[in-house]
């Protein structure tokens, strides 16, 4: 499928308050091209809750419940149950949350909904920070990245949410990135066709949060995948498969670019390059990515 073949459907209509180059709005448009209008969305506190509902309008063309920070998956569970009672099981219930609302405050509700086998799609758009409150660290923030609460760079590595979700053995888990729209579209489409809980995580490079130019959103996504900092994969009924460039990296058909190629464009890693290059920490980031891929290879190749 090519980009030109994506449907014209738009559930996210113009007029949002998103920053220029916002990956969340880009991701949302693609997601709803795949889901269509027979969808109900549950959104916890996150950028989307604010930017897509600029007083006195909203830019959503579907019903949306903007719920408390910790509650997206639980709220979606209730919506799904009530729709099912009324014989409206064909409506897609989708929770759309940021990484703070997924990795941190929302993980309890999410894990519960997955364990209860809730028929819904949970989408995490991961920009690796609490962006809505002004760029604080989250469980998804990578090692050494600056945020307003990790001023010298984060001292811990991000957690692997995808693998935590896989441990729930739900029908479908996928990682995608806004830089690969066809891949994302296909994954959402596939999730929609399946029963039970589905989890898709979209890497969403955030220009103000990561401190790069607003014209570079897609480039930052592409480089995240090409350096192996982010992997595109699907975990379908306990079977793992990698997609696109991530597949080629896994199989050794292409070589991962050094992570420096990705982080050097991002001001949040600026302290690793100025006043002098922090070779040690850059290597630690690189080593961490290397270990992740070694783990992938030992498990899935």
């Amino acid at each position: 499928m090519a980009i030109k073949d994506l449907p014209d459907t738009e559930c996210v209509i113009p007029g949002s308050a998103a920053c220029p180059g916002c990956p969340a709005t880009l991701g949302l448009r693609l997601v709803f091209k795949a889901l269509g209008k027979n969808s109900i969305m549950v959104v916890p506190a996150c950028c989307t809750a604010v930017i897509e509902s600029l007083y006195p309008n909203t830019s959503f063309d579907i019903p949306v419940m903007n719920i408390a920070f910790e509650a997206a998956a639980a709220g979606a569970s209730g919506v799904e149950a009530a729709l099912r009672q009324q014989g409206k099981g064909d409506t897609t219930v989708v929770a759309w949350a940021g990484d703070g609302g997924t990795y941190d405050i929302g993980i309890q509700a999410l894990s519960g909904a997955l364990e209860r086998n809730t028929n819904f799609i949970y989408i995490c758009y991961n920009n690796q920070i609490y962006s809505n409150t002004g760029i604080q660290r989250s469980g998804a923030t990578p090692y050494a990245a600056w945020t307003t609460t990790t001023v010298g760079g984060k001292t811990e590595f991000r957690k692997e949410m995808g693998e935590i979700i896989q441990a729930h053995h739900i029908p479908y888990v996928a990682q995608a990135c806004v830089a690969y729209p066809e891949d994302l579209y296909k994954k959402v489409k596939k999730a929609k066709s399946m029963k039970g809980p589905k989890y898709i995580e979209i890497l969403a490079p955030c220009p103000p949060g990561w401190r790069f130019g607003m014209e570079k959103t897609v480039e930052m996504g592409t480089l995240a995948v090409e350096t192996g900092a982010w992997a595109l994969y699907e975990y379908e009924n306990d079977k793992m498969s990698f997609n696109g460039k991530s597949k080629l990296i896994l199989e050794g058909k292409i070589k991962r670019k050094p992570v420096e190629e990705w982080i050097k464009y991002q001001g949040r890693f600026g302290h690793l390059f100025k006043p002098e290059k922090d070779v040690k920490r850059i290597k630690e980031i690189e080593d961490h990515i290397y270990q992740m891929w070694e783990r992938y290879r030992s498990c899935y190749l």
């Binding site: 506190a45 408390a68 405050i105 409150t133 002004g134 307003t148 609460t149 001023v151």
Partner: protein, 393 residues
């Protein structure tokens, strides 16, 4: 990295004596001056700057900033840190304050000293995150289940954010209880000139540690070394046997969940250790009350337009005064009752639909007229709006 309160280092980190800073930042300063060495944080508007400030400054005084996974985690870590021996605090706003309520009660029940800064925004629920309100005043008093006595400050200036956060630590340590600093979004996001108090002017109250013979130590009873209903604190790791539980417990700290007498004794002690001192705890500012026929009773940001309205009234010859509650809880019952006998009318402006007006009415007890002057929606009262109340609306 071992933390000991180092006045010189603190001054070095805080910088110049006179500064122009944000209210949220002033809460950071107050905490650091008090010797806070642990902050459990979670981002929430309009309190995020407290966490951000602590993240920057606390490590520099050898303290620990720990960002938690949510506000439940924040308050729980703060309680844990207190038992580990640190002075600890967190900061949040309405939705986070709601999430903290269970552990707020846990801190009350386990007599854990800690400080919660609540930079109030409008509610219910998500409300208006960037706009100030005073809608959580009753939540501080009644928000957690069961009987308890709250201690809660209400700063009206950025300077008071420093002073009251520091004083909140003092009262938390003195009474071994969680203390709230009920700031509001207006004060939290206001920049003003502040003067950092000199070390010699600080009056710091430290928690009374358990010192008696370990075999004779009883953890949850009147102090065994002082005349106080507040027990001596057996910091974890000091060798005093401690079992800390939110269950009703007897003097020894053991669960006594089916004993009416133990429950009554415990809860009456942890409430009366504060209510016995209610008169001592009164902190109010009185302006022009000597000849006043009408009085504003107000607090927090709202006191500022109320003061302007009072000045407008005075210029027109209206005998109006103002009573500002610096400490909202425990409520200054006797002060209000005395005032009610001296004036004809009390007007209570608040950025909510009327909360503190209720205890005002209770303690006025029919002695004068009480008028609520509410305003919600994230905008402060304008002085001329309040002036209209003086003219009888």
């Amino acid at each position: 990295m071992k933390y000991t309160r180092d006045p010189e280092l603190i001054r070095k980190v805080l910088g110049k004596k006179v500064q122009f800073i944000l209210g949220d930042m002033a809460c950071v300063y107050g905490g650091i001056l008090a010797g806070c060495s642990f902050f459990g944080g979670y981002p929430i508007t309009p309190a995020s700057e407290v966490a951000e400030g602590m993240a920057r400054m606390l490590p520099r005084v050898k303290g620990t900033y720990m960002q938690m996974e949510d506000e439940i985690g924040s308050i729980a870590a703060v309680i844990g840190a207190a038992w580990g021996g640190a002075k600890s605090m967190t900061a949040t706003s309405g939705p986070g304050f709601s999430l903290m309520m269970e552990n707020y009660g846990y801190a009350v029940m386990t007599e854990t000293p800690c400080v919660i800064v609540n930079v109030q925004r409008t509610g219910p629920s998500t409300g208006q995150p960037t706009l100030g309100a005073q809608g959580d005043m009753m939540q501080a008093k009644w928000g957690t289940h069961g009987d308890f006595e709250a201690i809660a400050f209400a700063p009206s200036t950025v300077q008071e954010c420093i002073d009251f956060t520091l004083e909140a630590f003092n009262l938390a340590e003195k009474y071994r209880t969680p203390v709230c600093v009920m700031a509001d979004g207006e004060i939290g996001h206001l920049r003003e000139r502040v003067i950092i108090p000199d070390e010699k002017d600080l009056k710091l109250i430290e928690r009374a540690p358990a010192t008696i013979d370990k075999k004779k130590f009883i953890p949850f009873t009147n102090s065994q070394t002082r005349k106080s209903k507040v027990p001596d604190f057996p910091t974890f790791g000091t060798g005093y046997r401690t079992y800390v539980t939110g269950l009703t417990h007897n003097e020894k700290g053991f669960p006594a969940t089916d004993k009416q007498k133990d429950h009554e004794k415990l809860v009456k002690r942890i409430t009366s250790k504060i209510s016995d001192d209610a008169d001592k705890l009164v902190m109010v500012e009185e302006i022009n009350l000597d000849d006043a026929e009408i009085a504003f009773v107000t607090y927090g940001a709202t006191a500022r337009p109320a003061e302007s309205a009072m000045e407008m009234g005075r210029k027109k010859g209206i005998k109006i005064g103002l009573l500002r509650l610096k400490l909202a809880w425990p409520f200054p019952e006797k002060v209000i009752h005395k005032l009610a006998k001296e004036v004809d009318k009390i007007i209570v402006p608040e950025m909510n639909l009327g909360q503190i007006v209720h205890p005002v009415r209770e303690y006025v007890n029919g002695e004068c007229e009480v008028v609520s002057a509410p305003k919600i929606g994230g905008e402060m009262h304008l002085p001329n709006e309040l002036f209209k109340y003086l003219e009888g609306k």
